[in-house]
């Protein structure tokens, strides 16, 4: 039941925060912070209680609640969290917390309405990670986009309206494909068994291989690939990121991108084993291409946030590679990569917000030599950039190494080119540091260093990155049972397909 309470808390917290604005502009922020604290406590309680999980066919479920919603189509309020969902929910709450605290960097007016949208986006994300009914999953999938679009559109920077619309068109448009795919799956299942149900577990157990399987899978994959983002469908990300306010960027990069990755792991291979097996080589190729393409484009940018946005495209290429390599190593690597990317890119976006707040621009040509003026800010940006380029000892490396390990079994070439992507990461990460902090200072007026409070928040992120980098075992143990269960479900196809894909 804690899951429903958690989502309810976030939703109610949003409304209260909005109402709180009437009593003063500081109220919404404190309400939001207390809400996030309570949420954090609930989630950690959930994690510590993980050992007492309820075991059902879909893998060991930690929390599980079910109630009827629309019996006509067999739709139910079915929430459940296994290791995979739990870890991502924890990430959502942590980054939500960081976003709330970083909100006042550039959100000055209508603060209450902003926190309302922020908390509702987080509630939507938690809903996506824990919904086990495909209809409910889709409702949260679409519902979390509108508050996010509002955040970009109302509190963003220059071209915010266009960026918000592009963001919505891309994600909603592909969401419609997902909706059609879900309905096609449900109708096909109804055709077979005469039973109306949107329930993930029953659809899993059905294991029917319907004629249009590949098309249905494509509907799922395209929707998740747009959200991931996968390269050809990624062009909304840089615009959305550059125009979003700092807190918006942190949540967008840290949480919303992960819903795409989560969807790929949870729904594609287990529901459509054969079709996923057919699709795997192409998806892996696109993943690798994404890594390299993202790296090249990141280097080419002169806008700080656009560079970080393209670096996200590159990092998410690893996740795509890991998901479709479909071995335990690569899946765990993909999950760790998602967590690490959330923390490191979230940190980089907070840095971007701080820089823009001080210097009035994101254009790196007008930066340069800032290390003299802001050593603390420079040091922290360096740490996050170094994490982003995958330095061992920080979290990204663990994710990327495990993905390489898993990919090697599937295809040597993919692993080789992915490793090349890690070299690309060095190029753009160091370029970021060079253009912003090194070189002769231009004597920019707004230059002043971080105050201790901001350093405290970012230090927490750095500690998490180092903790996850040097001791990822607790996370690995939590996700292992869930991912093994998912692998078992897509297992029959893997063995059959073993010879087919190995030749690549």
């Amino acid at each position: 039941m804690t899951l429903v309470w958690l989502i309810g808390l976030l939703l109610a917290g949003g409304v209260v925060a909005w109402g709180g604005e009437r009593f003063g502009s500081a109220w919404p922020r404190s309400i939001a912070v207390t809400v996030m604290l309570i949420a954090l406590v609930m989630v950690l309680g959930l994690w510590s209680g993980a050992a007492t999980g309820v075991v059902t066919p879909g893998g060991p479920w930690i929390a599980h609640v079910e109630a009827d919603w629309i019996p006509r189509f067999g739709i139910a309020f079915h929430f459940g969290a296994d290791g995979l969902s739990l870890v991502l929910v924890v990430l959502t709450i942590i980054l939500g917390f960081a976003a709330v605290i970083a909100a006042n960097i550039d959100v000055k007016e209508r603060v209450g309405f902003f926190h309302f949208n922020l908390l509702w986006t987080l509630a939507g994300a938690v809903g996506v990670f824990t919904a086990l009914d495909l209809f409910l999953f889709f409702v949260f999938w679409e519902a979390m986009l509108i508050p996010m679009a509002l955040i970009i559109a109302l509190w963003g920077h220059e071209k915010r309206r266009a960026a918000a619309l592009k963001f919505v068109l891309f994600t909603q448009g592909s969401g419609l494909l997902l909706f059609a795919a879900i309905l096609a799956l449900v109708f096909a299942h109804y055709g077979d068994t005469g039973l109306w149900t949107f329930d993930y577990l029953t659809l899993l157990a059905a294991e029917g291989s319907w004629p249009g399987n590949l098309w249905i899978l494509l509907g799922f994959v395209i929707a998740f690939a747009v959200k991931l983002p996968m390269v050809p469908l990624h062009s909304w990300l840089p615009d959305a990121h550059t125009e979003a306010p700092t807190a918006g960027s942190v949540v967008l990069a840290g949480v919303l991108l992960k819903t795409g990755g989560y969807g790929l792991i949870r729904f594609t291979a287990p529901l459509f084993p054969e079709a996923a097996q057919l699709l795997a080589p192409y998806a892996m190729a696109l993943g690798v291409f994404g890594i390299l393409y993202g790296a090249v484009l990141a280097y080419a940018q002169s806008d700080f946030k656009r560079l970080v946005a393209y670096s996200s495209v590159s990092h998410m290429g690893f996740v795509l590679l890991g998901v479709f390599a479909a071995t335990l190593w690569s899946l765990q690597g993909a999950v760790i990569q998602m967590l690490a990317h959330g923390l490191s890119t979230g940190g980089l976006f907070i840095m971007a917000g701080l820089l823009q707040h001080r210097l009035g621009t994101r254009d790196m040509q007008r930066f340069g030599g800032l290390w003299a003026g802001m050593p603390r800010l420079g040091a922290l940006t360096l740490i996050f950039a170094v994490a982003a380029l995958g330095l061992p000892g920080l979290a990204n490396f663990v994710g990327e190494f495990l993905v390489l390990l898993g990919t090697w079994e599937r295809s040597v070439w993919a692993a080789a080119f992915a490793a090349l992507g890690m070299v690309g990461a060095v190029i753009y990460a160091l370029a970021l540091i060079q253009r912003t902090f090194h070189g002769a200072p231009h004597g920019n007026p707004g230059v002043r260093d971080l105050d201790p409070r901001a350093v405290g928040l970012l230090a927490v992120l750095v500690l998490l990155l180092a903790g996850l980098g040097l001791a990822p075992q607790p996370v690995l143990d939590t996700t292992a049972p869930a991912l093994e269960a998912l692998l078992r479900l897509s297992e029959p196809a893997i063995l059959a397909g073993e010879v087919a894909s190995h030749g690549l």
């Binding site: 006509r72 109302l154 619309l165 919505v168 909706f179 309905l183 096609a184």
Partner: protein
């Protein structure tokens, strides 16, 4: 006509009586206030009589009207929509400055049109089809041009008159052709009777489809819609967009189901082409539209393009999906037009149809702007709104009927639709700085709305979000409509033939 027949026709009779009383009352002084009470009362009574009529359903009353689950649920939808329009019209016209307009005629025309719509939902015979359609169209002309001292409504009314005339001619020609070929006017019989000229029947059906296409404002018969939507006062636009279209859809669905028209390729292919064109064309036309009422017109073209998917899917699920979609769309459109009608952007009393009226509205009228944003999200089909349930049914019908091309059109159309719905929604929240202009002239007080208006808006909001979150009651009701195709229409109940006597005795 045994007593059960009268019971079956209860809703129609209640309305008829109300109209007659209305005509009598019109002569008395102070009739405006009386009519203000009479119209909603009549509609509520008609609604109340529906369950009574339901006991006798399904029943063929005179070969013209078949009162079954399908007809009754559609009648319910129409009556609810009409009630909302009636309340809205009172509130909207009250808001106009200058001498209060005399609304007796408005109410009478409204009731007449609703009567026509009810006839249409039950029609299974060409005569009832024609009577219902004309009874619905003629009052509509007057309603559209009701504020006769303004040029735009007159122009809209005239255009509607001419085009409705052309489409009625087409309709009669089509029916004549069918009658010529089959010799019968009863829908069910048309399919059964062998005919020497099948081409005539096909041509006739196509012509009926064209007339229906006009009424439902599908592309290429849609051109009247934007001008009429813009010209007519907001309540009448709501009436045109919901009641008249719902009634015509109900009839077309029953006609095509009964005559099996969609089995033969011609109507099927032309309807699919029309549907696809409407979905894409409607949305494209609305892309950069600056006038909100014309934008809603184009959006209704697109939405009725989506509605063709359940019509093509047919069968019990088609009826259920069609009705659910109409319910969702009607509530949303009335809600949107309620805001357009009730929002007085400036002292001139004109309706808020310009884009600038909505720029940054959220800062001045948060509740109205919030409701309008909710309606736009529902039109776009975002979850947690009734519009999403409508989209669920449209998609489900598409997949059930395996109409992949139309499904693709549905997805593409919805995506394009997202653009202009959200562009308008985002404009609502635009920070004050973005626009100077007439925003300051807006009377900031929210008290401009009368009590019934606020009640109406609250009811619409609750319906939209409530049913969006918990659609089960609507779905239960809607499934009832699905019973149409399942059962054969019952035999005509006639008095005992032995007692047959000439009328003169």
């Amino acid at each position: 006509m045994v007593f059960e027949d009268f019971l079956a026709l209860a809703p129609l009779l209640v309305l008829a009586v109300a109209i007659v009383i209305g005509l009598l009352v019109a002569a008395l002084p102070g009739s405006d206030r009386m009519m203000a009470g009479l119209t909603p009362l009549a509609l509520v009574l008609a609604l109340a009589s529906l369950p009574m009529a339901a006991e006798t359903a399904p029943r063929l009353v005179t070969p013209l009207l078949l009162v079954d689950g399908y007809a009754l649920v559609f009648s319910g939808l129409i009556l609810v929509a009409a009630l909302l329009v009636a309340v809205l019209s009172r509130a909207a016209f009250a808001g106009r400055p200058g001498r209060p307009p005399r609304l007796q005629e408005f109410d009478l025309l409204l009731l007449l049109a609703v009567l026509g719509a009810l006839v249409l939902t039950g029609a299974t015979h060409m005569i009832s089809f024609v009577i219902g359609l004309e009874l619905l169209s003629i009052p509509l002309l007057a309603l559209i041009a009701y504020p006769r001292d303004e040029p735009l409504p007159l122009e809209a009314g005239l255009k509607y008159l001419v085009i409705a005339g052309v489409s009625s001619a087409t309709l009669f020609f089509g029916l004549a052709l069918i009658y010529a070929a089959t010799g019968t006017m009863d829908f069910a019989a048309i399919a059964r009777t062998p005919t020497a000229h099948p081409a005539f029947v096909v041509a006739g059906l196509v012509l009926v489809l064209v007339a229906g296409g006009f009424k439902l404002s599908l592309i290429p018969f849609h051109m009247w819609a934007p001008d009429v939507y813009q010209g007519a006062p907001a309540p009448v636009t709501a009436f045109v967009g919901t009641v008249s279209k719902a009634a015509v859809f109900a009839l077309l669905f029953r006609l095509f189901e009964a005559t099996g028209a969609l089995a033969s390729p011609a109507p099927l292919w032309s309807l699919s082409a029309i549907a696809f064109a409407s979905m894409i064309g409607g949305n494209l036309l609305a892309l950069l539209q600056q006038n909100v009422k014309r934008l809603l017109a184009y959006s209704s073209i697109a939405h009725f393009g989506y509605l063709m998917v359940p019509l093509l899917a047919g069968g019990t699920f088609g009826a259920e999906a069609g009705l659910a979609y109409l319910a969702g769309y009607s509530v949303t459109l009335i809600g949107a037009l309620a805001v357009v009608g009730l929002l007085r952007p400036d002292a001139s009393g004109r309706e808020a149809e310009r884009w600038s009226d909505y720029q940054g509205l959220f800062r001045r009228r948060p509740w109205l702007a919030g409701l309008f944003a909710l309606m736009l999200l529902s039109l776009a089909g975002i979850p947690l709104t009734l519009g999403f349930i409508a989209k669920l049914y449209a998609f489900a019908a598409g997949i059930d009927g395996a109409a992949w091309l139309l499904l693709a059109g549905l997805i593409a159309g919805s995506t394009i639709g997202l653009f202009y719905y959200l562009r308008l929604a985002l404009a609502l929240f635009a920070p004050a700085g973005a626009v100077a202009g007439p925003a300051d002239a807006m009377p900031a007080d929210a008290t401009g709305l009368t009590l019934p208006a606020r009640g109406l808006l609250a009811a619409l909001a609750v319906a939209l979000v409530g049913l969006g979150l918990w659609p089960q009651p609507l779905i239960g009701l809607v499934r009832e409509a699905g019973t149409l195709a399942a059962t054969e229409p019952p035999a005509l109940s006639r008095p005992d033939p032995t007692e047959a006597r000439s009328w003169t005795e």
